[in-house]
Amino acid sequence: MTAEGDNPPLPRRRVGTAGEESLEEIELDLLLTAVARRYGYDFRQYSPASLHRRVQRAMVEERLDTLSALQERLLHEPEALQRFISHLSVHVTSMFRDPQVYRALRKQVVPLLRTWPFVRIWHAGCATGEEVYSLAILLHEEGLLDRCRIYATDLSDELLEQANAGAYPLSVMRRYTANYLASGGREEFSGYYTADHKNAVLRDDIRRPIVFSQHNLVSDGSFNEFHLIMCRNVMIYFDKQLRDRVLELFHDSLVLFGVLGLGQRESLRFTPRFESYQPLADESLRLYRRVR
């Protein structure tokens, strides 16, 4: 993890005379600057609407009354940092979210992946891991998992730990099973996990090809060349400039004719990289093949 350069981007806000900014905006700017300078985690180019919400949430969970108090705690108590990062990185997803995407991965992307002797996959922003394991199950059923290595990364160590455990509450398994079936799954879904008293723990052979590690899309560079990069509903938290920079990072990390998968309401259209990709199948699936 590296800090930003000498000239970190200015936080977004309306330029105005003193007093036009709300106290909360000032406090938020100061807090984000403090965290960036002290720890190298730079959230200043996160999209403000949900950032506001989640920083507020972090403040409440820490039982503090102001963002300034939260800033003080973060500066002086490094152990508070991981909690803060978790608050800022929580996406709540499910296994086989958007089943139609997994159907398309099976039908359209797997045949492409088969053309490579060894397949490297990057799942960027894997959060608690549900979608990575979904992909691993799919690849297993297609007989491809043995020659795949899946790198699943996230900003938050706490979330990675949860993801690595591969355990999900039994109460959500019914919904996941329905998603799995809708995605074209062919097996008995319950065969993929063992149940203890409250959790479903995924099978070892599904978990083994996945390497979980910490990676910060804001400040870390490319670390390999991949045939498939999945980054779904992560860049929705970034402003345009940061989103475009991260798309460059993915471009640099994707082999020619490799595939980039985005969330269902994200698009390469209107980004500077649109010309370098072709939608696979229906563009609404947001699976793009690098063509130049």
């Binding site: 919400r53 989103r243 269902q264």
Partner: protein
């Protein structure tokens, strides 16, 4: 606390759940093609069908679309929250989030309204229609605190009065209107502020 002075309407946010589609149709029918952007959080199932925008938009002067991330907010358009995402607004554009459902809802009305209150303050109108949970009540309060105007569907005219009633408990100063007067009221608010977007305004609108 003194509420900031009113300013021209630049954004309307609408929340609804049970019975919301019919109610939304009634409200949106009163809006003309140049009406300020309208962002809508309508509760729907996570596997929601994508035809919702199409169904809702038939025959309207405004164009209804399901939101794409970071889409700019433009007049004459209605921005519908996609299934299984929170819809938020920031200055001039929409934002999406997959953080946890709020009160079992994603999209959540409160999340949309609170973001609009923060970004648009006195330039937003918040409208809460029929809804069967209390989602939206906090949102109306947030818009009110930020100086925006608030409209709550008269509980008697709502298919489900739970949210309107909760909102009025929390924000007694919110304007209460029967469903069919909400659209004309919005059109009138915009027209009075010198905006466009008036479509055949008739008497009875804009009652104060």
């Amino acid at each position: 606390m003194k509420r900031p002075a009113r300013r021209p309407v630049e954004l309307v946010v609408i929340g609804a759940s049970l019975g919301g589609l019919d109610a939304l149709g009634v409200v949106l029918a009163a809006l003309g093609p140049g009406f300020p952007p309208v962002a809508v959080a309508q509760h729907r199932s996570p596997q929601g069908e994508s035809r919702l925008a199409h169904l809702l938009g038939r025959g309207l002067a405004v164009e209804v679309g399901e939101v794409e991330d970071k889409e700019p907010l433009s007049p004459g358009r209605v921005y519908l929250a996609p299934a299984d995402y929170h819809l938020l607004v920031e200055e001039g554009r929409v934002a999406l989030s997959t953080e946890a459902p709020v009160a079992f809802s994603r999209p959540s009305i409160d999340v949309l309204f609170e973001s609009a209150a923060r970004a648009y303050g006195p330039r937003v109108v918040g409208v809460l229609l029929t809804a069967s949970s209390e989602d939206g009540a906090e949102g109306i309060a947030a818009v009110h605190r930020a100086g925006g105007s608030t409209v709550v569907q008269a509980p008697k005219t709502a298919r489900s009065p739970v949210a309107p009633k909760a909102a009025l408990r929390l924000t007694p100063g919110a304007r209460v209107l029967p469903l069919e007067e909400i659209g004309p009221f919005l059109a009138n608010e915009v027209a009075q502020a010198g905006g466009r977007g008036l479509k055949g305004v008739q008497g009875g609108a804009g009652r104060r």
